[in-house]
C-alpha cells in the first residue's frame, strides 16, 4: 500500500503528472473573481469564503480525470486489480495520493489567496480548518466519479456532471464553516457535519468505487 502511495505521488509530482496545474487553476479562478464582480473590498470580504471553497472544489475536480485514466491506459490498473491488495484498498490509496498532491496544497495555498480576496481576520483559521476537513471527502468522492467514467473516451465532462452534485453537501457545510468563521459566529455544528460527511464517505465510498472499477475492468 505504501509502495503504491509513493508511486502515485511520485508520478503526480513529476513532469506531466499535472501537479501544480490544480494550484495554478485555483490561483487563476481566485484572481478572476474580482474582475467579474468588481473590486469593492466589502463585497469581496463577504464572498471570499464561498469563492475560495468553490475554487478549491473546481481545482480538485480538474485533476480527477487523470486519477485513474493514466493507469487505465497503460494497463497498470489491471495489474493492480490482480495484485494481492484488495481493490478497495487500491482505491483508497489512490484517493489519499490525490488528496496529498491536490487537496493538501490547496489547503496550504488558500489563506494566501484569502489575502487577495480581503478575507476577514478570523476567517483564515476556519478556512484552513474547513478545507483540511472537507477536501479528503472531495478526493474520495472524486475517485468514485473517476472510477465510474474510467473506460469512457470523453469522460471528462461527464465526470463533472456526475461528481458536482455529489459535492453539494460537502460544499454547503464547508463553505458554511468558513463563512461563519469569517463573521465570528459559532462553527461547531457545520464543522461536525462536515467531519461526519468526510468520515462517512471515507468509510463507505471506496467499496462503491471498487465495485464500479471491477465492472469497468471486466
Amino acid at each position: 500500500m505504501i509502495a503504491l502511495l509513493i508511486r502515485d505521488m511520485r508520478l503526480a509530482f513529476r513532469a506531466g503528472g499535472g501537479f501544480g496545474l490544480g494550484l495554478a487553476f485555483f490561483l487563476i479562478v481566485t484572481v478572476m473573481v474580482p474582475f467579474s464582480v468588481g473590486p469593492q473590498s466589502e463585497l469581496l470580504t463577504t464572498i471570499a469564503p464561498g469563492v475560495l471553497w468553490l475554487g478549491a472544489l473546481l481545482a480538485c475536480l480538474l485533476s480527477l480525470d487523470r486519477l485513474l485514466a493514466l493507469d487505465w491506459e497503460d494497463g497498470s490498473l489491471d495489474l493492480l486489480a490482480t495484485a494481492p491488495l484488495p481493490l478497495e484498498a487500491v482505491v483508497t490509496v489512490k484517493a489519499l495520493a490525490h488528496w496529498i498532491t491536490t487537496g493538501l496544497p490547496l489547503v496550504l495555498l488558500a489563506p494566501v489567496l484569502g489575502v487577495l480576496l480581503n478575507l476577514a481576520g478570523e476567517g483564515y483559521v476556519w478556512l484552513v480548518v474547513s478545507l483540511a476537513v472537507g477536501t479528503p471527502a472531495l478526493s474520495v468522492i472524486g475517485t468514485f466519479g473517476a472510477a465510474l467514467t474510467v473506460g469512457l473516451k470523453r469522460g471528462g465532462l461527464l465526470l463533472s456532471l456526475l461528481v458536482l452534485p455529489l459535492y453539494v453537501p460537502t460544499l454547503i457545510f464547508g463553505a458554511e464553516v468558513a463563512r461563519r468563521g469569517a463573521t465570528g459566529m459559532d462553527t461547531a455544528t457545520p464543522l461536525l457535519m462536515l467531519a461526519g460527511i468526510t468520515a462517512g464517505v471515507i468509510g463507505l465510498l471506496p467499496f462503491a468505487s471498487a465495485a464500479v472499477l471491477r465492472v469497468n475492468l471486466r
Binding site: G151, P165, V168, P169, I172, F173, E176, M193, I197, V215
Partner: protein, 243 residues
C-alpha cells in the same frame, strides 16, 4: 405465482401489454376529471385567488419526481442483487419520466411563486433540493447514454443510483440546515391531519392518481420499448454472425 416471474421479458411484455390500455385509459380519465374539476369547478382561494389551482399540477408532479427516483433506486437494487435485465431497463425507462416530472414541478412552482412570493426562484431548501435532484437525473441519464455495453451501463448506473440516493438525501438535509426558506410545509402527508380544505383536496387526490397511473403507463411502455430495442439488436447481431 411470484413477482420474480416478471423478470422474464416475455412474461413481462405479455402482462404489461394487457395492463397498458387500462393504465392509459384510467390515467387519462383521472387527469381529465381531476384537472378540469380542479381548474373549473373549485372556488378561488380567498388569499391566493386562482393561483391556488396550480396545485393540481405541482403537487402530483413533485410527488412523482421523488417517487420515480425511489423506483429507480429499488429497480437498481434488484438489478445488483438478482440481475434481472427487465429491472435495469425499467430503471432506465423511468429516468426521463422523472426528469420531466421534476421539470414540471420546478416550472409550475416558479409560475406560482412569482405572484405569491414575488420571485420566480429563491434558494429555498425544497427548491434547491429539487434542483439537485434534477442534476442527479441528468447525470444518471448521461451515464446510461455514454456507455455502449448494456450490462456495464446497467451496473454502473445502478451503483450511481444507490450512491446518488444517499447524497440526494444528504443534500436535502444540508440545504435544510442552511436556511429555512420560503416554501410552506408539506400539503399532504399520510400520518398527519390534512391541511388542505376538502374542496381542493378531492380533485387533488384524483389528479395524483392520474399522475401515478400516467407514470406507471409511461414506464411500462418505455420498458417494453427498451426490451424490444434490445431484441432487435440481438437479432441484427445474430444475422451478421450468420452471414
Amino acid at each position: 405465482m411470484s413477482l420474480w416471474e416478471y423478470a422474464n421479458p416475455k412474461k413481462f411484455l405479455n402482462t404489461s401489454e394487457r395492463l397498458l390500455p387500462w393504465f392509459w385509459g384510467l390515467s387519462a380519465v383521472c387527469l381529465v376529471v381531476g384537472l378540469s374539476w380542479g381548474f373549473f369547478f373549485t372556488p378561488d382561494d380567498f388569499r391566493q385567488g386562482s393561483t391556488v389551482k396550480i396545485i393540481y399540477l405541482h403537487v402530483p408532479s413533485a410527488l412523482m419526481a421523488i417517487n420515480a427516483w425511489f423506483m429507480m433506486f429499488v429497480a437498481s437494487m434488484i438489478w445488483i442483487v438478482r440481475r434481472h435485465h427487465v429491472s435495469a431497463l425499467a430503471a432506465r425507462a423511468a429516468a426521463p419520466v422523472g426528469v420531466v416530472m421534476t421539470l414540471i414541478a420546478l416550472v409550475t412552482g416558479a409560475i406560482w411563486g412569482e405572484p405569491m412570493w414575488g420571485t420566480w426562484w429563491a434558494w429555498d431548501p425544497r427548491l434547491t433540493s429539487f434542483l439537485i435532484l434534477f442534476l442527479f437525473y441528468l447525470g444518471y441519464i448521461a451515464l446510461w447514454e455514454a456507455i455502449d455495453n448494456p450490462d456495464t451501463a446497467a451496473d454502473l448506473t445502478s451503483v450511481l443510483c444507490l450512491v446518488g440516493s444517499v447524497f440526494a438525501v444528504l443534500s436535502r438535509y444540508a440545504v435544510n440546515f442552511w436556511n429555512q426558506g420560503l416554501h410552506q410545509g408539506a400539503s399532504l402527508s399520510l400520518d398527519k391531519e390534512k391541511n388542505v380544505a376538502d374542496v381542493f383536496y378531492h380533485p387533488l387526490l384524483v389528479s395524483i392518481a392520474g399522475f401515478v397511473l400516467l407514470f406507471l403507463a409511461l414506464v411500462l411502455y418505455r420498458t417494453g420499448t427498451e426490451i424490444r430495442a434490445r431484441r432487435i439488436k440481438a437479432l441484427i447481431a445474430r444475422e451478421r454472425a450468420g452471414a
